[in-house]
């Protein structure tokens, strides 16, 4: 069996991602606070989707390269959660969003999207550090006993997957070489970005 090829697909298999990012029209952060959706969520409520947008944009903000919003990450997650995840995980992530909002209120006295960038970042980093990690996986095979992870691990996994497998990033930022030809075994890195997988 083609075991090796599954390496690069391992996260795909577990946390697959959606539609061509170029199809997204994105959404807007108004006054760096409550995002206004210009798409209709299928799984999340509009409020949840707005919160999700703020979270994913905090994980992967727009810099000189596109951020999560611009590459359609929240819309993808809305679609992927419905199609790929079991009801239990769906609920875990839904509860997780609620938890983030409550944490923001308790810690900073406001809703998450209204927090400053520093506040949002520190809150998510805290969750990230506490979320635990996935077991080792090679060739698509889970090779250690799975321990339950916090919802943030799942959410971050989906966010990164959606972003880095989007056309904008795959073609425009990472080095896109769909038909490499000869394999060059050793090559000076020279500061280059990773190849698109």
């Amino acid at each position: 069996m083609n075991r090796r090829e599954a390496i690069k697909n391992q996260s795909l298999v577990i946390f697959g991602v959606a539609v061509s990012a170029s199809a997204w029209s994105g959404l807007y952060l108004s006054c760096r606070s409550m995002p206004v959706l210009d798409w209709k969520p299928g799984f999340f409520t509009v409020e949840e989707a707005s919160l999700l947008t703020a979270i994913t944009e905090t994980i992967l903000p727009k810099t000189q390269t596109a951020g999560a919003m611009e590459t359609g990450v929240p819309r993808f997650i809305d679609k992927a959660i419905a199609a790929l995840f079991d009801p239990e995980t769906q609920q875990k992530i839904r509860d997780g969003l609620d938890q983030i909002d409550r944490m923001a209120k308790t810690t900073f006295g406001k809703k998450f999207p209204s927090c400053s960038e520093e506040e949002r970042t520190s809150l998510l980093l805290d969750l990230d550090r506490k979320a635990g990690t996935y077991p080792l996986s090679l060739w698509g095979i889970t090779l250690e006993q799975s321990k339950p992870v916090g919802f943030f691990r799942d959410l971050k996994s989906l966010t990164l997957m959606a972003y880095f497998t989007s056309e904008e990033i795959g073609k425009g930022v990472l080095r896109y070489d769909p038909v490499p030809g000869d394999y060059q075994a050793c090559l000076p890195l020279d500061g280059m970005n990773s190849w698109t997988e």
Binding site: M1, R3, I59, D128, W139, T165, P180, G181, Y183
Partner: protein, 566 residues
Amino acid sequence: MQQNNFDAIVIGSGISGGWAAKELCEKGLKTLVLEKGRPVVHVRDYPTANLDAWDMEFRGALTREEAKRFPVQTRSGFVGGDNKHFFTDDLDNPYIETQRFDWIRGNQTGGRSLTWGRNCYRWSDLDFEANKKDGIAIDWPIRYRDIEPWYTYVEKFAGISGEKLGLSHLPDGYFLPPIPLNCIEQHLKKEVEGKFKGRHITPARVAHLTDPQPWHLELGRGKCMNRDRCARGCPFGAYFSSNSATLPAAARTGNLTLRNHAVVHSILYDEQSGRATGVRVIDAETMISTEYRASLVFCCASTLATTQILMNSLSSRFPNGMGNDSGQLGRNLMDHHYRCGAYGEHEGYADQYYKGRKPTGLFIPRYVNLDRLTENKNFIRGYDYQGAGGTRNPWSRGIQEPGVGAEFKESLFKPGGWNMGLMGFGECLPYEDNRLSLDPEKKDKWGLPLLVIDAGFRENEMKMREQIKADAAEMLEVAGFKNVRVFDEIGGMGVGVHEMGTARMGRDPKTSVLNGNNQVHGVPNVFVTDGACMTSASCVNPSITYMALTARAVDFALQALNKRNL
């Protein structure tokens, strides 16, 4: 009825069936190939071969709805949204697992030759003599010299890339240039070979055209482009499959008839002549039963399916299954055990990278129990390793590492550190009570009795795994890898997808099902040349050996036919 008569029938179109078809057709026999699954035409039926992640709705992930059709296939980790069409629908093709058995299947033209791992290693007399030396099961009826020219013959046609090592227990073959080792693999090679006498690290020997020869180009096959999207089907025909190589070679003779949706019910037996007369087939879609006649039958349905057919081929002469005078039919089921080894990360070579997604990694040939000096008293037989990883960590490392924000995002555009996994593959002994049977009552939708699988790994395999882990960790540590973790998650038997045995070759009809030419004892015009024929398992991937045994058996069958001995 004229149209149902052929010179030869081949059951199955996978690696073994494809070879049987090619050899029989090229020798001038009108040959019918029966394939249980749907047609898959090379290139035309590889719908995802050229898609990028963003071209797929869920970027290659299997949806929950889709996964419901594959409760067994997904145990393997190989099934994704991008290649699910090459795996068998488990709900339509049930079987019974007395012990967990992961039967990974690909019922379609080309079978699992579309999704195989493409590693090809010759067996040696270390393997062919093993049962005899250990006093286990029965002796192989052949030795390396019997199969050696056939290895060369099939390697030349299939196209195997690899490096010659000059090892007697892993013989060199007819090789195209190897797919080179990258910086971290070369580093590991230097360290391990320098510190452990008798251990070698070499590029995996794989069925990829790195330098296509005229006979490859003639069939429309081309050079490997290092896309590493092999399991979706290769639009360049760069890796060997029935679809890209043997079936087109068979078809161009004008002697091939390929019939899809052909569920083989049984092989027909004539009591008077003591010969098989043909095959009974049920059309998977119409349920219509048809008999095809031929004077020669090659059974290449894959290990378990082949034995299922033989068990269901009942007659007065063979009330317990065709060729089962010995009672060995269905027994001695083997698979390789793996999912065991070590993983680590290396901080060096930060300024080095590579270009291309090479479709394979490194290979460490067996080095234990070769002789008295390398003896390990805890177990018999041995193991090898395949490199799993050996790349720079891509963006997905960010899923596990704490981090959010602009700097984190930008850092993930750059390659991360190097990683290396060493995945052991171990030999499994033939145990008589690791066996298949037919359920007396339960039937599938075509009315065929369900296969019952009752098999598992034992003490020798488990003890071997301890050494596999210890050695893998030691090699990585010696080579300066950090955070070395051992892993051991055996999964079900079968998940190695190297099922072997259940209709073993042997010298004595009282203890074996096949003779040294893969001919069924008592039914001289029926041959079994897929994994069912194996008498022991070695620790190397078996497909190239099936290819060689198949070509050899066809050659023997044709000589016998010409002498009117079949």
